[in-house]
Symmetry: C2
Subunit: 321 residues, 2 copies
Amino acid sequence: MTRPSAVPPPVTAVLDASSRWLPARMGAVEDVLRDQVGGQGEPLGADAAATLAAGGKRLRPMLVLLCAGEQGGDAALRAAAAIELVHMATLVHDDVLDQAPLRRGVPTVAATSGRARALATGDLLLSRAFALLAEAGDGRSVQLLADASVALARGELAQRHDAFDLSISERRYLDRCRLKTATLFECACLLGHDDEHLRRFGAEVGLAFQLLDDVLDVSGPPERTGKARGTDLLDGTVTLPLILAIGSDPGIAEVDLQGLDTESAAALCDRIAATGALEEVRARALAMVAAGKRELQSSGFAPEQQQLLALVADGVVQRYS
Amino acid sequence: MTRPSAVPPPVTAVLDASSRWLPARMGAVEDVLRDQVGGQGEPLGADAAATLAAGGKRLRPMLVLLCAGEQGGDAALRAAAAIELVHMATLVHDDVLDQAPLRRGVPTVAATSGRARALATGDLLLSRAFALLAEAGDGRSVQLLADASVALARGELAQRHDAFDLSISERRYLDRCRLKTATLFECACLLGHDDEHLRRFGAEVGLAFQLLDDVLDVSGPPERTGKARGTDLLDGTVTLPLILAIGSDPGIAEVDLQGLDTESAAALCDRIAATGALEEVRARALAMVAAGKRELQSSGFAPEQQQLLALVADGVVQRYS
């Protein structure tokens, strides 16, 4: 299992293109994050700092800062840090359930410190996000983030509710992806700047991100994704590649997901791929990214800001190309 | 295992003494809670509604309403509901770990719907609490509740960190109780009314509540507490009765908590009780309640309001007498 580099190429492209101001602002977000997870007493310090150090793409904070623009002040920094705290909280809580030994190539809190501490660490990261925004009296941001956080939990509940159900519709799948993933991207844009075009940009890019993630689960390769192919299938999570594959190969609907093991899950991945479903899902994701970019053009945003946001959107795609 | 009645006697006493206004206000809080947990999609509806219906004493919302007083408006109602949502979230998350089959006599979310849904339900209840306050633009309340929620998680982390460590000091135990329990009582009072005496009242009563809870874990009887004696000991949670007992019977410090089973835990409870530690902890809790009531007298609050709050404080003690 390879350890992803701390800053993946697409993000680097955005940072390069905005070297005048964005890298310094992203550094300031890291400082806020370190402040927030530090100074909470030794046990948390270690666990949360490890989660923080494990990195990640920081896509959501970057969207906040880019939408706020070069002149965005401390409010944008705080919002950028707060949205990453919420995202980190969901990752730590996911690990409570999955008992995944590694995330982003480093041991998870659940693996290092046990489920109990991982659960409390997630609760703490989530609470800290709201405390950070509330301290600054930023009511609008609290509301946006609280609503997004509600959506995340609802998406998770929907996913668990639909688990192992091969009859769920494409529409239900998309609704779940909006709740689970797109809403937080949308929220990132709105935290940066209150604009309907930016909101739609975030929603499209976020949805594309989830679709492409679901393609990767089927396509692998594990050396690049850091997890076995078919992990979603083993969890009973029915995703768009599977839904579309059933359309062309109805026999797939007879598979008992609950009876899968690693080997038969990989075989099912091959069967899904053979239907051409992965190409279709990729194409749909690209169409979403394109729609998102069109929203930018309608936004009246400064060309440089549009260009940087478009680079983020491209980055989401490139990671999976 | 007996199922506690929905409204325990001490709470009834407060409602009786304030029949002119409090029962109607508490009913309005239930309406807000039902609104908040309903309408979130079917899967949540069922789980969260079950948690809600399982009742509980609603001590924290009652403190909010009493501190806000008869003229407290919608802000007090929302704050009362929000603090109960946070409290419910912690209970649902506790059940993720403990895999307790029952809480308050009814099946837990974790038992009914599995750990994954319980985890997401807890996240949702917590997020909803902040969304509820943020919608109304109540920044001060968001801040108070977020800080309290951070403290809860820190208390939980401290407890897990200290688990099975018989050398922890009384001071460390009290610090943990403040984080885990007293802060939310304190927060309830401050949400109702910004007053330093009320804050201290809440802190004293909350700390007493935790001390008496820890006495009950040792004393039982299980028919009244709804759980086996020594549940904390089996979890490795070192509480004040145990710490004081070691002072008079140092041999207890040699016990290997990790090797306890239900039977040896009950025997250890007897050994702790034999030292007189339970009486001492009870006496300290009563002293805290008395100190809390003195704060009320210094508060300059209307006598009726003082009297009602004193009844809540007495209720905390009576439940355990």
